[in-house]
């Protein structure tokens, strides 16, 4: 009996066998060979970086080839288009890069999934790296990876606008109250006093200055709805309310640095990356960086950092660790600092750094009271929601924003 059904059946079987054979193919097979380390001999390691620009890419490539010649190995440096996505694909395909940048904000997510090799605790001389940075890459009390470099936030002041408003060096704000009053004085028809990024990565600094943060020190408890955090948001809201402070979007800018460079704002709060942007895009604007003013609980700033992650599935772990060692040596870090404008993650390098870049003293001094990003796995979505809340801060209720963060973050931490 020939009928359409037979044909469908044949087709179905053919398709099924096709998909089964595809699944059994080399692409998806279950390799547990990852632990089998490649034996001696020169290793060829893949390095995936998310460079901020050509300067950084060239600096890393040069350092990598220097290491390769010295150690007899080979290192291929690749610039990522979208490092999160590319790492995700690498982990899924069992073929991740051996060494790669890991941002502190995403570190816990990778560590909890078992993607990272916890090599930090046995890394020689790990105590030289700033404690706050080591804390940022510690998950379940294991140090997973070695911090590459870091940046902190400072207060940038347009010195021309400053003088025009009749302010002197003695007026540089050291408290919240002074910040509010100079911001008001600097506000004219054409410029506002302060351009402030509308995310946790800027407004969070006020939370630290008030003595609060999203979590407690070792990220085990959510403390978002504390009175300290409320005080911080209320202060920011008051700045936004009197018109002396605006979010970059209100100033037609993608980020605060752009508003500052276009002189739509006389002050801004950004990290040391602003130096490169000002030099290349707005060379005519004269400014200086001072430490952030202290809040009710004293000084505080935010630190942003990345580490040299090594994949748990890497076949050349020994070579990878050796590579990281070369990249985090004091001289290498100072070279990177010069080329990229980041600060060395080693405390022993700070004196040399300040000697070379005296204008960045405010940034490196911040390391002492800097807070690293929230170190909790899979909290990105919650923090993105908090950012959305902060964007609505001008008309929103700070208490509700924090209560929402508390509830959502607790759901993640409690998991």
């Amino acid at each position: 009996m020939r009928n359409p059904r037979t044909r469908w059946a044949v087709g179905g079987v053919a398709l099924l066998s096709l998909s089964l054979s595809a699944c059994g193919g080399s692409g998806f097979d279950d390799t547990d060979k990852a632990d089998g380390q490649a034996s001696s001999g020169p290793a060829s390691i893949k390095v995936l970086i998310a460079a901020s620009g050509d300067a950084e890419k060239n600096a890393v490539t040069d350092a990598a080839s220097a290491w390769a010649t010295k150690s007899g190995n080979k290192a291929t440096v690749t610039q990522a288009q979208n490092i999160d996505q590319q790492l995700g694909q690498g982990f899924a395909s069992n073929n991740p890069p051996d060494v790669f940048y890991v941002d502190a904000g995403r570190f816990a997510t990778y560590a909890s999934a078992g993607s990272l090799e916890p090599y930090g605790d046995s890394f020689a001389g790990k105590d030289d790296f700033y404690p706050a940075l080591r804390q940022a890459f510690t998950y379940k009390s294991k140090l997973y990876c070695i911090p590459k470099d870091f940046s902190t936030l400072g207060l940038q002041i347009n010195t021309t606008a400053w003088a025009k408003a009749g302010l002197t060096d003695g007026d540089i704000p050291t408290t919240w109250g002074q910040l509010a009053s100079v911001a008001k004085k600097l506000t004219t028809g054409k410029q506002v006093g302060l351009a402030l990024g509308d995310t946790r990565d800027r407004i969070g600094a006020f939370m630290v200055q008030a003595g609060g943060w999203v979590t407690n020190k070792d990220a085990t408890k959510v403390t978002a709805d504390s009175p300290e955090n409320l005080k911080a948001l209320n202060f920011v809201k008051s700045l936004l309310a009197d018109g002396s402070t605006k979010y970059p979007k209100q100033l037609d800018s993608g980020w605060s640095g752009e508003a500052f460079g276009k002189q739509k704002a006389a002050m801004t709060i950004e990290g040391n990356w602003i130096a490169g942007a000002m030099k290349s895009d707005y060379p005519g604007v004269k400014y200086k960086t001072v430490p952030l003013p202290a809040g009710p609980a004293g000084k505080g700033t935010l630190a942003f950092t990345q580490c040299w992650g090594i994949a748990a599935k890497s076949k050349h772990k020994a070579a990878a660790i050796d590579f990281v060692k070369a990249m985090t040596a004091k001289e290498a870090e100072l070279t990177f600092a010069k080329a990229i404008g980041v600060m060395p993650s080693r405390q022993s390098a700070s004196a040399d750094y300040v000697a070379q870049f005296p204008q960045d003293k405010a940034f490196i001094d911040g390391a002492a009271n800097a807070q690293a990003p929230v170190n909790v796995a899979k909290i990105d979505q919650v923090l993105a929601d908090f950012d959305t809340g902060l964007q609505s801060l001008p008309d929103g209720d700070p208490k509700q924003i924090l209560a929402r963060l508390q509830k959502n973050a607790q759901a993640v931490v409690g998991q």
């Binding site: 096709l18 998909s19 595809a22 899979k378 979505q381």
Partner: protein, 402 residues
């Protein structure tokens, strides 16, 4: 697929002459058994050849379409964490655990997903009718017999559709920036334009605000009732100002493609029909409403279906322009799926969103098909089906011999 068992007369055997002689020669040996169903005869060979010819396509489609979809379905039902193969031994079946936080469990995941559905729902509600109407209008215009420079206008209207959507999105970012062209034009007529892509306010909220509803303290009945993690007041916000800019962009870019479809259909309408209608004394509007439009119905169905599917999958404009902001008001399920998978490492949840989206699209297309079905045709079809059934049960298996 409507005729899965073509007889030898229409099959490949009736192709070019040489092929036919070979096939005939090969088949000659088995011709001695008339009346038997030819299961091992000439058509068996044809079947094999047929499969051989379609196998490249089947392999490609299977490898790059069917297998990935099945894998994604498995991921959405498993606890895979992005490490290694989803088919390895450490990955377990977890049933609906990836679906539950999206649909039933109150929390951030649910409210994000519901918000993305709301945003995309408003987006579809605005884009599909607007782009269909605009496309039809443009097609009628450039189909006009007296229009000069038809070629120019047809090209001009089709142009946005052939340009890369990423390039257009970037241009729109400039046009709609708060000191951009649109706001400069608005300023000329005395309107203070909004900060388009930074404005999360819903337009229905804004309209209500204009009628004196206090948006900061919305009516309690709406604000306090939550459905799926969002208050009714939020559900009724309308598309945000930022979303409206995206809607304008998409309507503008896609109308050209659909205009082409309408234009092809319009040119298929015989002139005589219109003339006949004219002789019957119809006016322009009557002719459009009762002659042209019914004849465009299959094309209308096509355009609406493609529009519906395309709009529920909107991704590239969001990815380039807003990444879900401001205030998550341009977040769509397709973008949320990408974000959950690649940014939040929640691969199961990301695939679950994709499959929920798939279900929504299929359901809506079926509904639309039902609403737009040709009622006369449906009735006629049902009648033939009934007649065929009656005939088959009456005369036995003779019909199978064909």
């Amino acid at each position: 697929m409507s005729e899965p068992n073509p007889g030898p007369a229409q099959g490949p055997g009736s192709g070019p002459a040489p092929a036919r002689t070979v096939a005939a020669a090969k088949a000659r040996g088995r011709r001695g058994r008339p009346g038997r169903a030819p299961s091992g005869g000439i058509r068996g060979r044809e079947g094999l050849a047929g499969w051989l010819f379609v196998s490249p396509v089947l392999v490609v489609l299977g490898l790059f379409l069917v297998v990935p979809i099945l894998m994604a379905l498995w991921v959405s039902l498993s606890d895979w964490n992005g490490q290694g193969s989803p088919l390895s031994s450490g990955v377990h079946f977890v049933g609906g655990q990836n679906y539950a936080p999206l649909v039933t469990e109150p929390g951030l995941t649910q409210s994000d997903f519901m918000m993305s559905l709301r945003n995309n729902g408003y987006y579809v509600l605005f884009v599909v009718p607007l782009q269909t109407a605009l496309a039809l209008g443009l097609a009628l215009l450039v189909n006009g017999r007296r229009l000069k420079g038809k070629g120019f206008f047809r090209t001009a209207y089709y142009f946005p559709s052939v340009t890369s959507s990423v390039a257009i999105s970037v241009v729109f970012l400039f046009i709609f920036s708060s000191s951009g062209v649109v706001n400069a034009l608005l300023a000329k007529v005395g309107v203070d334009g909004p900060a388009w892509f930074a404005d999360p306010r819903g337009i229905i909220h804004l309209a209500l605000g204009a009628f004196g509803v206090n948006n900061d303290a919305p009516p309690a009945a709406l604000a306090d009732t939550t459905v799926g993690g969002l208050s009714l007041w939020d559900w009724f916000s309308g598309p945000s100002v930022a979303m409206c800019a995206i809607i304008v962009l998409v309507v503008w870019t896609t109308a050209g493609t659909f205009m082409l479809m309408f234009l092809a259909a319009l040119q298929d309408i015989p002139l005589e029909v219109e003339e006949a209608a004219e002789i019957d004394g119809t006016g322009r509007w009557q002719r459009f409403r009762h002659v042209t439009l019914p004849m465009l119905k299959p094309t209308l169905f096509l355009v609406l279906t493609l529009g519906l599917i395309g709009t529920w999958q909107v991704f590239d404009q969001i990815y380039v322009m807003t990444r879900g902001g401001p205030g998550k008001t341009t977040m769509t399920p397709a973008f949320l799926s990408y974000q959950s998978s690649f940014i939040d490492n929640e691969w199961g949840q990301g695939s679950a969103i994709a499959f929920i989206l798939f279900a929504i699209i299929v359901a809506l297309t079926l509904i639309q098909r039902f609403v737009l079905r040709d009622k006369d045709e449906a009735r006629a079809k049902a009648a033939t089906r009934r007649a065929a059934k009656a005939a088959r049960s009456g005369s036995g298996p003779t019909t199978e011999a064909i």
